[in-house]
């Protein structure tokens, strides 16, 4: 089975935040919750690089390991999802995540965190596909429609690649070969090396 992966080509990312807005608009994510972010290093200096980061859907994901209520699970295609009805908002996944992916909307009890929200790879949640509940809790389910996640599909420079890991790797390898520069598949070793 295909193994879904993200790859952000830092040579191509232009810090336009198109992925961020596409994600929020498409999944109706509340303001303040960033399933995806663009990080810019060395802003305004030679060597400035930008990088779009969301949940990498790691193999052997640390968030799954630390979750005390087993709210986070991994599908066969590698997509890591959270069951918001099970999640208690403890925040352990955020502490375990190397990518800062888990997000917590403010809950209504003592300002405690609500259920964790994160990138779903546009694959919805555990509820019935395209159901009202799934859409409300998690947003779109584009994977079930046979589409790539919104962020990657809207990326103007094709910096953000998403889909079958081996195809993504091929596309990237081809680019690196043409460029003649080093391989900088950022985050891959951290996210996928254990697989």
């Amino acid at each position: 089975m295909a193994r879904m992966r993200f790859l952000c080509d830092t040579e191509r990312c232009i810090d336009c935040s198109g992925c961020v807005v596409a994600c929020k608009e498409g999944n109706h994510v509340p303001v303040g919750i960033n399933r995806r972010r663009v990080i810019t290093m060395k802003q305004g200096e030679p060597g400035e690089k930008s990088l779009s980061i969301a949940c990498m859907h790691c193999s052997d994901a640390p968030c799954i390991a630390v979750c005390p209520v087993d709210a986070i699970y991994q599908r066969d295609d590698g997509i890591v999802l959270v069951d918001k009805k099970t999640c208690i908002g403890c925040g352990y996944c955020f502490m375990a995540c190397p990518f800062g992916a888990p997000q917590f909307p403010k809950g209504n009890v003592f300002g405690a965190r609500g259920a964790m929200d994160k990138c779903t790879f546009c694959a919805g949640g555990p509820e019935e596909n395209f159901g009202k509940e799934e859409t409300q809790l998690y947003g779109q389910n584009r994977i079930a429609e046979g589409k790539v996640p919104l962020c990657a599909s809207m990326c103007a420079t094709k910096a953000l690649l998403a889909g079958d890991g081996s195809v993504v790797a091929d596309v990237y390898r081809d680019r690196v070969f043409k460029r003649g520069s080093g391989v900088n598949a950022w985050g891959w070793s951290k996210a996928y090396d254990k697989s």
């Binding site: 810090d15 961020v20 003649g180």
Partner: protein, 716 residues
């Protein structure tokens, strides 16, 4: 642009000057980065600011704002001095070259260093890169045009490309990225003060041409003007319309401006914005037609304003022209929501009320298809006649058949067409012209020579030399009946030329003979009807270099420049820099667009860019005692002030400060939050950057000089 966004994929080098494509045109970046990666094309970025585009550059050139022309002439000089110019191209297709070379000689790398601040070594290196990696795609945007010598600057860009022989070549060309999806279309329809649609000008013949197209009586149109003189003279331009209201400057107009319709216009993109606001309040009638209540709706204190909610692009349909001169069809997704109406309906209601609907809609029964057909009928100058609504829609339905590299359909219903039939598309069989001035293809297949527009022979005032303006012998498109240069086509149908022959027989005749309707001439380096026949550097009106003001002074004052007296020499004060020591430049953010009425009303975009700010170099900030997040006051020589947050960043250098111009909602210390219609205030308010942009207008086009003013910065 002479080429297309996709064609940049073939560039062997790229130079961007006064363009921040990553923020203003992010979608173009895939082609730019493709050329950089696949062709290993050097990417040269010339900008006062280390922009996000500069982050992708292989060569970043920091230039002093307003000195682009000097740098270009320096490159030209360096290229010629080394014998790197394309001699054959110049011999056969360029006019006024010798005169230009004489002028360029002054701009040695050392002189360029003194003017622009670019090290002589770097000028030499850039010239070397351009010479050795041809063709070069040259791109400029507002950073190149918004100066009082903007027209000279843009001409110097073109001359560089002529000298390098990069015109009419795939991967070369002068590629001016246009802003929104239909800015090119709006330009072609000449939503301007000095032109009828299709760049026909304002002469009697032009009016008569369009009256024939519209099928209305010329006299009835003429009777609507105060006199024939005013009918044929330029109006107020967008940059200075408010002078026609304020009456503070000397104006040449039969009457002050009393009423105004702002149709999809972010007024805070006007410089000296506080004066614009004053004018808005003095109007008898102001109508704002926009999907969002723009800042105009809030800043007006009088009861003179009507807000008409218009539909967005998703709620209407019609043809639009992209930056690559491609015409595309936009389909309606939903009907206009709430009380909004689409632009066609608003226009129709307005025209009916004004009582000339019959004449207005004489040819237009089916909206919007018939509008496109009327454009097809009349816009012959730039070849808008082959893109019928049917062809455009066919292109939209067959996207997949077009090649991403050369934009040509390979098979399918649109076989051979270039995507969007980029103008000129001379006939309904013509595939469109993907690259302007490309003589390697037959005209019928999308080739084109340079246009013959300025006579066949000219004697230059500068040198007294006489030169033929037609292309050299043997230089023409394949299959041309005349092997060499030829004049434009006229009198094929008696009494008309190719531009005014509505039967289009003249155009068909030319195409059948393998020739371009507009002739085959040379591109000229000398423009004898401009104040600077060859582009030269002139110091910005508000210059930070008093020593250079003497050496490169501005123009004489110009009376009746788009109806307003415009100061040049009397405005240029070498001592101004003592009071206003920092160069002020403005620009865009990727998150917001134009005046920002729409984007600042989007919660997600507002979250990403929630505040107006000023970019200050860390060194300057430390010298001024400004810390990150401090509020600072930026003051213009005109006395306007804005209070904004300091963003300390090495993007700008120590003498320059940068303002994004998308913000509005507060002005000179007053907030207009409460003045928006209830529930319609944008999420983000801020001082408009254009409040402090300086006086200064281009000598030819009157575009405002927002990129090279002066200012004072103090802690709030």
């Amino acid at each position: 642009m002479t080429n297309s966004l996709n064609d940049i994929r073939h560039a062997k080098s790229m130079i961007f000057i006064g363009s921040n494509a990553t923020e203003a045109h992010p979608v173009s970046m895939q082609h730019i980065l493709h050329a950089k990666e696949v062709n290993n094309a050097p990417l040269i970025v010339v900008d006062p600011r280390f922009t996000k585009l500069a982050a992708k550059a292989t060569e970043y050139v920091r230039i002093r704002p307003g000195t682009d022309c000097a740098f270009m002439m320096g490159l030209i000089n360096e290229i010629i001095a080394n014998g790197w110019e394309d001699k054959e191209f110049i011999r056969t297709r360029v006019a006024g070259y010798e005169e230009m070379v004489e002028v360029a000689k002054h701009y040695t790398p050392e002189v360029v260093e003194n003017i622009t601040g670019i090290p002589a070594k770097q000028t030499r290196r850039v010239a070397d890169i351009l010479a050795k990696s041809r063709p070069t795609s040259l791109t400029w945007c507002m950073g190149g045009t918004q100066h009082h010598i903007g027209s000279s600057i843009t001409r110097s860009f073109c001359i560089l490309q002529l000298v390098l022989g990069n015109m009419g070549k795939s991967g070369g060309g002068t590629n001016i990225f246009r802003g929104h999806d239909n800015v090119q279309g709006a330009t072609d329809m000449c939503v301007l003060a000095d032109n009828l649609p299709g760049y026909y000008g304002l002469a009697e013949g032009s009016w008569k041409h369009w009256c024939r197209v519209w099928d209305v009586d010329y006299d009835s149109i003429a009777s609507r003007f105060a006199s024939k003189e005013w009918m044929e003279s330029k109006g107020f331009s967008l940059a200075r319309w408010y002078e026609g209201v304020l009456g503070e400057e000397k104006i040449e107009s039969p009457s002050p401006i009393k009423a105004m319709i702002q149709w999809g216009c972010g007024s805070n993109s006007n410089s000296q914005y506080n004066r614009v606001v004053k004018a808005l309040n003095m109007l008898d009638l102001l109508v704002v037609i926009d999907p969002f209540p723009t800042i105009v709706a809030a800043v007006t204190k009088t009861d003179n304003i009507y807000l008409l909610p218009s539909a967005s692009q998703y709620e209407t349909s019609g043809s639009v022209t992209s930056t690559s001169r491609q015409i595309q069809w936009r389909f309606k997704v939903v009907d206009p929501v709430y009380d909004s109406k689409d632009d066609y309906e608003i226009m129709s209601l307005l025209v009916s009320k004004l009582g000339f609907a019959d004449e207005f809609y004489k040819n237009i029964k089916e909206v919007p298809e018939d509008i496109t057909r009327e454009i097809n009928k009349g816009t012959l100058t730039i070849g808008y006649n082959g893109q019928t609504p049917e062809r455009i829609k066919a292109h939209m339905e067959n996207w997949h058949t077009f090649d991403i590299d050369d934009l040509q359909a390979k098979g399918g219903p649109c076989d051979g067409d270039y995507y969007g039939m980029p103008w000129p598309c001379w006939t309904t069989e013509h595939p469109g012209t993907p690259i302007l001035y490309d003589i390697s293809k037959p005209v019928a297949k999308g080739g084109l020579p340079f246009r013959n527009r300025f006579g066949d022979v000219t004697t230059y005032v500068m040198t007294g030399r006489e030169e033929g303006q037609l292309a050299a012998k043997g230089v023409c498109n394949p299959g041309s009946e005349v092997q060499g240069g030829y004049s434009e086509f006229k009198e094929v149908v008696p009494g008309t030329n190719w531009k005014t022959d509505l039967s289009q027989e003249t155009i068909k005749n030319a195409i059948n003979r393998g020739m371009a309707p507009f002739g085959n001439a040379r591109a000229r380096c000398v423009v004898w009807n401009f104040p600077d026949q060859v582009p030269i550097h002139r110091e910005p009106l508000h210059s930070p270099r008093p020593d250079l003001v003497e050496k490169y002074p501005t123009y004489e004052d110009k009376a009746n420049h788009f109806r307003v007296e415009t100061r040049y020499k009397s405005e240029q004060n070498p001592d101004l820099v003592k009071q206003y020591p920092y160069v002020l430049t403005t620009g865009r953010q990727v998150e917001h667009m134009g005046g920002g009425a729409e984007t600042r009303s989007s919660k997600y975009l507002s979250e990403l860019q929630p505040e107006m700010y000023v970019e200050i170099n860390p060194r300057l900030a430390n010298d001024l005692g400004i810390r990150k997040g401090d509020m600072v006051i930026v003051e213009s020589p005109e006395g306007a002030k804005i209070t904004v947050k300091a963003f300390i960043t090495p993007r700008v250098d120590e003498k320059t400060i940068f303002l994004p111009f998308h913000f509005a909602g507060t002005l000179m210390g007053e907030s207009y939050l409460k003045d928006y219609p209830e529930g319609h205030a944008p999420y983000v308010l801020g001082d408009p950057g254009n409040t402090v942009t300086n006086y200064g207008y281009d000598i030819i086009t009157q575009i405002q000089a927002t990129k090279d003013g002066l200012c004072k910065v103090t802690r709030a």
